[in-house]
Symmetry: C2
Subunit: 608 residues, 2 copies
């Protein structure tokens, strides 16, 4: 056997000394329960983001006053101690900022985080609760044994137990959590719940896990690269494609659900859910493949995706149009439309993907652009936008998925656009020729209201962009003609624009996006409760489709809402992976009767 | 971002200097094509094991003469250069042996290995060819892109391509390799072939991958722990059980086959295969779910498992016995046999597992022991036998699966028993009370003919042992009575032993093991060719069921045989993982027309 050289930890760097001093002072102030003294260790401009470690909430406080307020309300019950530089890590110093991976303990769990110090004190602090003491996940050294050694009369096998566990729900017992929606969000959360030993069921209207992807248009591939997309516990293998085709992702989700032993009911629709405030539980009526089953969970999680209900515009003449009409979510792919005239209304991701695929089979396709769209080329986005955190390059320099996720989470939403703007300026320079051609074709292009690009649009409104994998060139080259304006009506034979122009069509595709996330929830829990909980997603940035006031975090996502026992989960694969842990730990703490006093429960400013 | 401390590589250790000197001298001797000078760098007692890097064979040479002979025949074509200590590794020194991870290049590929030096020179050397230059696997930085960017008329999607690829075999094209047997061996090899871009199909008589496990008796769990069992590319997740239940392994194999895009035909039986020595290809007739398909591969791999055809003894009275008779491979599990009288003939793994499960449901079960059995307790085996290489402890000390496999492969078979004997002496001490009780019950127990225990029995004969997961206690306690002797006949109502005793039975289970691996092959390629290739498995240790002469390697496994284009693959999950790479690379080199002169092609000493 051989061994690697021990790192030279005997010399203590100035950066290490600085971080250790700060952690020691912070610890001492907390031990003395002196919120003001602790707050004085922060810079005047400061952002402390906490994921359930101090606040049992996902929240960011700003300024020394914000820090002091958070601590006054939380430090007694949190009892955070033992702040250290994470084992095996060395603080890094660059541009006047010292950055350090840290760990700590609370009364109930173990946490970690990322600290950035300037001369003034802590500039940013991220704290996360990673596990509950005595309730650690069974993995690694604590993995299950599998076989039960010894001889036991009437042994139940793993397979028998699994079948009984899934089918016994609603018959011989109730789950603690019902998750509505079994795409990547529901599946990632299901894996966390399984790992934490929380009885659960994930419901989805599709027959098999992954059908959410399989049923989409046939040329669809992930727009995010593999390094960004891993699910918890079981990363994609090293031969997994950068941008996986939809059916391959479907296969992965199906096998993941089985391997992770997630209690998953396919072909199941939650028809309605009501809250009993006396019993503190839900009554959820489910159509499970035609059979009505009633479940009584303590918690209900909506994991229906950032995309809520399909937005289909109501237009005069939709009843007289003689061709086919589809929302983009219903579009089966191009194969039946060779030589047909297709009008696609919309100019974001789905519109481009559908137009491109239709053009490839020889359809006569026209795009209707109603408002400007932000486009970035996939390769450029991957390199400039994600490459430092999610790439082979990042892995080679030691940025694991966990570190990348944590760094990402540590950037305060308030100033995130400031970090994003230069990246998109770089992309504009790099692809200047492409943007010139695109704009010369008449296509209306933007970079977001403050030039902060795609990711901020995603966080603020979840729409308004296209990650170009080829179809934008078809527009830039004129292969796919683009018409501008609003659709005023459908005629028997086509689409009429406000310019008076009429576009003949055999098929009209409404690539008109999706409604609010809580629109879908409202169908199940009722409009009144949906309004009580309020708008889901967005930051309160006071930009299009994301009205102010500033919220500090994404509205209602992964954290307590105004309705006890009602939660929202979802987002892209990255968010599903990362935030599922913190949502699952919140549920676990409640299941175990651990006190979870919520600091800074969000207010509701918008109902939809 | 933060960084970890750089290892202190500026001081060169004495061990490093010694290894570098040896590698440099070895390189120089090879460059000078001086086999004797190179051989003089080895100790007088020395073992050089080569996996296809120098020899295009799996072979071990012994002594300086062996080394010189190998080099005289191979060094010119191999042209090995650039021997170095592997990047990031430091040689280790213990008990007078310096151990170093090494890398090198050959004319056609890149290799690695493990070198152990004593004062006399190289005591052991392992060399392996890991990849072919210019034909590296698409993974990590070279992973496939997935989506095809840009717009392409008549695009074929991933799913369409996959279906066409699997179903087009035997219709629009022939595979380069046909693998018969789709258990873990065929599946691991299939994954390697896919990665190397070799057109292939894996055939199995069961409907779905994993059914080989699912169809076995219901209490079956893996007897080897998870760390030993990983398949290539996609390790089990950290929550995978130590000893996975059979249905869970079945699920894993099924999803692995899909995720790795292995061309797999279920419900398919290879009826016969003939070799055309002019065309240098096989004609393989396959029954694919009732349809006859004829394939013409260049290579045929049998991956039918160490267990060949079920051994069912022919006994007088089998036609008059009124109860049920089953081979252990046919036993459906205990559920139908509550309160029945069952006689299990045999006393190895399957016999114990079946007896234990029958006892658990309340059957009246008797075991017939015909010869002595070696038993080790699972926990003890895992800790003492495997713990240094395959465990959380090993991982924590830096022994990755790759390193564990390589260390394992580097121990010469000739002296392996010497390393094993002390481990089993330790196990005997640790479980002394258990063995006392077991022997007091009358059970005949052994430790292998030279006391080298289970693993050597596995390598030599593949049978004669039980890894105790509980049923041995039932025997030791007398809950399962054991009868000794040979079965002379079946009567209408039971089993008659040579002692004259008759055991009444409703069910007789023949846990009598399996025939030779090439028995199954013979059914397909004919007895003549099976005899030409000779016995498969075993080392020539001159112990029971493994006749001499000494072979140096496992007979016919993963390496060229006396029949061009005919290969054997299999073994446990560890062997399937490790050796599949070297078998796949041999096939890849042949597919690419790279010269593969075989040194030391094995002779045939036994036909079955």
């Amino acid at each position: 056997m051989t061994q690697t050289v021990e790192p030279a930890t005997n010399t203590t760097s100035a950066a290490r000394q600085r971080v250790e001093k700060w952690l020691s002072d912070f610890s001492a102030a907390l031990a003395a329960r002196d919120a003001d003294r602790a707050a004085d260790l922060f810079a005047t401009t400061t952002y402390w983001r906490d994921l359930i470690a101090f606040t049992w909430n996902i929240t960011t406080v700003e300024g020394r006053e914000g820090v002091a307020d958070l601590l006054r309300h939380t430090m007694e019950t949190t009892d955070a101690t033992d702040f250290r530089i994470a084992e095996g890590e060395e603080p890094d110093e660059a541009d006047g900022v010292t950055t350090a991976w840290i760990t700590f303990e609370t009364a109930v769990g173990r946490g970690s985080g990322l600290l950035r110090l300037t001369d003034e004190g802590a500039w940013t602090l991220l704290t996360t609760l990673d596990e509950l003491k005595g309730l650690e996940e069974p993995k690694g050294e604590n993995r299950p044994k599998g076989v039960q050694h010894g001889a036991t009369k009437d042994r139940v096998t793993w397979k028998e137990r699994r079948i009984a566990e899934v089918d016994g729900l609603g018959r011989d017992r109730d789950p603690y959590v019902v998750v509505i929606g079994g795409g990547q969000g529901g599946i990632a959360l299901g894996a966390r719940l399984r790992q934490l030993g929380i009885d659960h069921v994930v419901l989805d209207r599709h027959e098999r896990p992954g059908d959410q992807w399989r049923s989409r248009y046939k040329s669809l591939c992930l727009h995010d690269p593999v390094w960004y997309d891993h699910l918890p516990y079981l990363p994609f293998p090293p031969n997994w494609p950068v941008f996986a085709p939809k059916d391959k992702i479907g296969d992965w989700l199906e096998m993941y659900t089985r391997i992770m032993e997630i209690n998953y009911w396919g072909s199941s629709i939650a028809k309605n859910a009501t809250w009993d405030d006396q019993k503190k539980e839900w009554t959820v009526t489910v159509d499970r493949a035609g059979e009505e089953v009633v479940l009584h969970p303590k918690h209900l999680v909506f994991a229906l995706g950032v995309s809520g209900k399909p937005n289909i515009p109501t237009l005069p003449g939709q009843d007289v149009f003689r061709g086919e009409q589809q929302h983009s979510s219903q579009h089966p792919g191009p194969d039946d439309y060779k030589d047909k005239r297709v009008v696609v209304i919309g100019s974001n991701n789905s519109a481009f993907d559908i137009c491109g695929a239709l053009w490839e089979v020889g359809a006569d396709v026209t795009m209707v652009q109603r408002s400007s769209t932000h486009i970035v080329r996939s390769d450029t986005l991957m390199d400039v936008g994600l490459g430092d955190l999610y790439s082979e390059r990042a892995l080679a320099s030691g940025v694991t998925t966990f570190k990348a996720d944590t760094i990402f989470a540590s950037l305060p939403y308030r100033i995130m656009h400031e970090f994003q703007i230069p990246l998109y300026e770089e992309m504009a320079r790099r692809d200047a020729d492409f943007y010139q051609r695109l704009e010369a074709s008449g296509f209306l292009h933007d970079w977001g209201e403050d030039g902060s690009g795609l990711f901020m649009k995603y966080l603020r409104r979840g729409s308004g962009y296209y990650i170009d994998v080829g179809a934008a060139d078809l527009v830039a080259n004129g292969d796919i003609p683009v018409k501008h304006g609003q659709v005023v009506e459908l005629t028997e034979t086509g689409v009429k624009l406000d310019s008076g122009e009429e576009l003949p069509a055999d098929l009209v595709v409404y690539a008109t996006g999706y409604g609010s996330m809580n629109g879908l929830a409202g169908d199940i829990v009722g409009e009144e409760m949906a309004d009580k909980v309020g708008k889901v997603w967005g930051l309160g940035s006071a930009t299009t489709k994301d009205p102010g006031p500033w919220e500090g975090e994404q509205r209602n996502m992964w954290k307590p809402t105004q309705q006890e026992g009602l939660w929202f989960h979802g987002g892209n694969l990255h968010q599903s992976r990362y935030y599922s842990l913190y949502l699952a730990l919140q549920l676990k703490a409640r299941a175990e009767g651990i006190p979870t006093p919520v600091y800074g429960l969000q207010e509701v400013h918008h109902t939809a």
